[in-house]
């Protein structure tokens, strides 16, 4: 069975690209439009990995990571955050919240796949 990856991003084009790339790589994808939406979906859907943006309305990426780690089903899954280079402090904050790693925006599809492969094994 294909592994399920959630992408949480308020940018439809980024979601589209991430989804497209992951599906090409043989993964199933669940999309969430912001942190709140993601957390809601996580409570009912089992995912193997989470890729989240940091800046999102309603609930940002840090809040989502904290919330996800508090869920039993997401305690040990890899969580990768999308950051920009200017957000080094956010990277630390994200890690403290329980993020596994990060992808610096902008990124190319193959970079995304490399990170997914790296953390998901």
């Amino acid at each position: 069975m294909a592994k399920v990856i959630m992408t949480a991003d308020d940018s439809a084009s980024v979601r589209q690209m991430v989804t497209f790339t992951l599906k090409q790589g043989g993964y199933d994808v669940v999309e969430a439009v912001d942190g709140k939406d993601a957390l809601q979906k996580l409570s009912t859907t089992k995912v193997d990995m989470l890729i989240t943006d940091l800046n999102m309305p309603n609930l940002d990426g840090i809040g989502l990571i904290k919330g996800a780690r508090a869920l039993a089903s997401c305690k040990f899954i890899p969580i990768v955050m999308l950051t920009t280079e200017s957000q080094d402090s956010k990277k630390q904050e994200g890690k403290a919240a329980g993020a596994t790693g990060w992808i610096v925006k902008p990124f190319k599809p193959e970079q995304l796949m490399a990170v997914v492969k790296k953390v998901l094994g």
């Binding site: 308020d10 084009s13 690209m17 890690k95 925006k105 190319k108 790296k118 953390v119």
Partner: protein, 696 residues
């Protein structure tokens, strides 16, 4: 694919810009509204991030500037003024203009961008001037060529699992880098009752030999290097083996690692037992540490041995002429060997026979390996053409499938290389001029999808490469008109079909009405023909209007040794390529009489046409009572050749005929038999064709 994403981004960006505008207008009313400031920042941030991801670099770098200023607003370092709102609105309009410009391919007004940035920077208080855009780091990572062995100690933080990191994945990644020995260290385990089941108590010693360099190793740990203990040391550089004669002793390794002090080592060494055992027995070292060091010792030893084996079996480059010479000599040798075998058989000398057999075996091996050095299957070239067909059909809006046959057919490497360009051109022609657009095909009652068939087959001392399409076929009238127009043929010329088709090889000849991007690049069929002729090959076209065109390229191997069937007619010997031979049957005088002068033989209830070679080659003398028919398969058709006797299978060294005989029909080469006499090699396909033409 990228276009789709770009389009999605643009739609989204327009939406975001609309939202940005209304947020900014509201912000002017309520300059302290943090929520609004957040919305403006997020909109900008998304446009920047996605913009550069989808190739809108100008938009990204411009928006970056605006975002930087708004980040200050967000952090309370800058307050919202009407000047800021004005500038930001101007920036918003500028982004929109850039988006619009991206569609039409026009350049957005760079000066306007610069003016806005200067204004914003002044406002933010960090000087004027247009900011330089972030420079992307060049990934100029030079690959290290020589393998290096690293000793890596990776001690993950106890809580590594709660960040979703699986250390086993990291170890697996290291295994992908090269030869890897992993030793798990378990001396950190607490008593069971104190153990946190979610904690990680194991750490790892890894000995890794890789040619990817230390950075590649560090990259594996990129997400965890801040939190874990990671030590990477170079154990051995394998390019400098010669300088490192000895393997490191166990004690030295432990000492280097800092796992033991020199005093401790000295103490232990003073007792004459195996050092590792002693150290563990003495409780100076946990078992795992010794195991790890031993593993390193073993690893380095193995890698070094592998390297030595690899060094020994590495390839060498040799000039092609030397190989030609070798192959020529082997050819001579095969001939001499045949003679030796024949002589030995005649002498009836057991000892000589034994020697001859030995020489025969060795020669066969020598022949195979000498030839193998230069022969490559044509398949890799074929698969390249698949891509060509795919791209071209997409470009021209045609549906084309490419089928191949005989990809395993081996050809001399240099021949394959030189064949590439002519074949590319021929395939292009088939696709561009031959295969019709799907609608046209359907209207003509053909499947919408056209086929280009590419086939290679050995034929005597040649390889036949066929490019056949099921397209429109050649338009004889158009060719004739064009030929007269160009003054290549006189207006009243009576040309056979074959002669007409040959006209397309004339320089500057093209029947295409318009010059497309595919053909008409100034490279004509004349260039193809010259390239083939330079390989001493020939090119042949058959075409049926509305049904397709078949182009056959015949390329001789300069020298090849093939399995063939030796036959005799009178005193003359002939060779027939065994690959084409199906079976041999007898032909009696009664059979001939029964078929009433038609050259047809009954073979298991099937009629097989045959060619009486004695008559065909006008060899004098009477045929024997019972003749033999060698039945061959050419283009899926069974055709027999009547000969006097079938002698048997033979290894044939092909010698090409001299220039004077190069146009001889039906003969593709010659060989020297064991008794020194010459046998001609029959060009079966050409013979079949010649007889067909004769009958027509």
């Amino acid at each position: 694919m990228m276009d789709l994403h770009r389009q999605a981004f643009k739609e989204e960006a327009y939406e975001l810009l609309a939202e940005l505008e209304s947020s900014l207008l509201e912000l002017e009313e309520r300059p302290d509204d943090q929520d609004l400031i957040g919305r403006v920042f997020r909109a900008m941030h998304t446009i920047k991030g996605s913009g550069s991801m989808f190739g809108f670099d100008d938009i990204a770098s411009f928006t970056h500037e605006v975002e930087t200023v708004f980040d200050m607003v967000r952090n309370g370092k800058l307050s919202v003024t009407s000047r800021l709102v004005n500038l930001t609105l101007a920036a918003r309009d500028q982004i929109r203009a850039m988006l619009d410009a991206a569609d039409s391919g026009a350049e957005a007004d760079l000066q306007a961008s610069a003016a806005i940035i200067v204004g914003l920077r002044e406002l933010a208080g960090f000087g004027g001037g247009v900011a330089e855009t972030d420079e992307r780091h060049e990934e100029a990572l030079v690959q290290q060529k020589d393998p290096v062995t690293y000793r890596i100690r990776f001690v993950p933080p106890r809580d590594i699992f709660v960040t979703g990191t699986n250390p086993l994945n990291l170890l697996a990644e290291m295994k992908e880098l090269g030869t890897c020995t992993v030793v798990a260290q378990t001396d950190g385990f607490p008593p069971l009752e104190e153990m946190d089941p979610e904690g990680c108590y194991v750490y790892w010693d890894v000995i890794l030999t890789t040619d990817q360099g230390e950075n590649a190793v560090r990259d594996i740990f990129i997400f965890v290097e801040d939190d874990c203990e990671l030590k990477i040391d170079v154990v051995a550089e394998h390019s400098r083996y010669d300088e490192q004669q000895d393997y490191k002793k166990l004690g030295e390794i432990l000492l280097e690692r800092g796992d033991i002090t020199p005093q401790e080592m000295k103490e232990v060494l003073s007792r004459q037992r195996r050092f590792g055992e002693l150290a563990v027995a003495e409780g100076i070292l946990p078992e795992g540490k010794v195991q790890s060091a031993l593993a390193e010792q073993k690893h380095v030893k193995e890698v070094r041995q592998e390297k030595q084996v690899a060094d020994a079996s590495s390839s060498i480059r040799v000039p092609a002429e030397r190989l030609d010479l070798l192959v020529n000599l082997v050819g001579e040798m095969v001939t001499v060997q045949a003679r030796l075998s024949q002589t030995a058989a005649q002498r009836d000398d057991a000892e000589l026979m034994a020697i001859a057999e030995e020489v025969e075996r060795l020669t066969a091996e020598l022949r195979d390996s000498a030839l193998n050095i230069r022969m490559l299957p044509i398949g890799s070239t074929f698969s390249k053409f698949k891509r060509l067909v795919r791209d071209l059909s997409a470009e021209l809006g045609k549906q084309i499938e490419m089928t191949t046959e005989g990809a395993e057919t081996e050809l001399d490497k240099t021949v394959i290389e030189k064949l590439n360009d002519p074949l590319v051109h021929l395939i292009r022609n088939s696709i561009d001029h031959g295969i019709e657009l799907p609608e046209v095909r359907e209207a003509a009652g053909k499947p919408a999808r056209g086929t280009v068939h590419l086939a290679a087959v050995h034929s005597g001392d040649s390889v036949l490469i066929t490019i056949a399409d099921d397209g429109a076929g050649l338009d004889k009238e158009a060719i004739r008109t064009k030929g007269i127009e160009r003054g290549i043929i006189p207006a009243n010329a009576e040309l056979s079909e074959k002669e007409l088709f040959c006209l397309i090889f004339a320089p500057g000849f093209s029947t295409a009405k318009t010059v497309s991007s595919v053909s008409g690049r100034g490279v004509g069929m004349d260039v193809v023909k010259r390239a083939i002729e330079n390989l001493r090959g020939s090119i042949d076209i058959t075409s049926v209007r509305g049904q397709g065109t078949r182009i056959t390229v015949k390329i001789p191997l300069t020298l090849a040794i093939i399995e063939s069937l030796l036959v005799k007619i009178g005193d003359d010997s002939f060779m027939m390529p065994l690959a084409l031979v199906d079976e041999c049957v007898e032909l009696t005088r009664e059979d001939v009489a029964r078929s009433h002068g038609r050259n047809l033989a009954h073979v298991r209830e099937h009629l097989v046409p045959y060619i009486p070679l004695r008559r065909h080659f006008k060899i004098s003398g009477a045929p024997p009572e019972i003749e033999q028919i060698v039945i061959t398969q050419v283009d899926g058709m069974r055709v027999g050749f009547v000969v006097d006797h079938v002698i048997g299978e033979h290894q044939t060294v092909i010698k090409s005929l001299g220039r004077a005989y190069k146009d001889t029909e039906g003969i593709s080469g010659a060989t020297i038999l064991g008794d020194g006499s010459v046998a001609l090699i029959l060009d079966i396909p050409q013979l079949v064709q010649a007889v067909e033409t004769e009958q027509n």
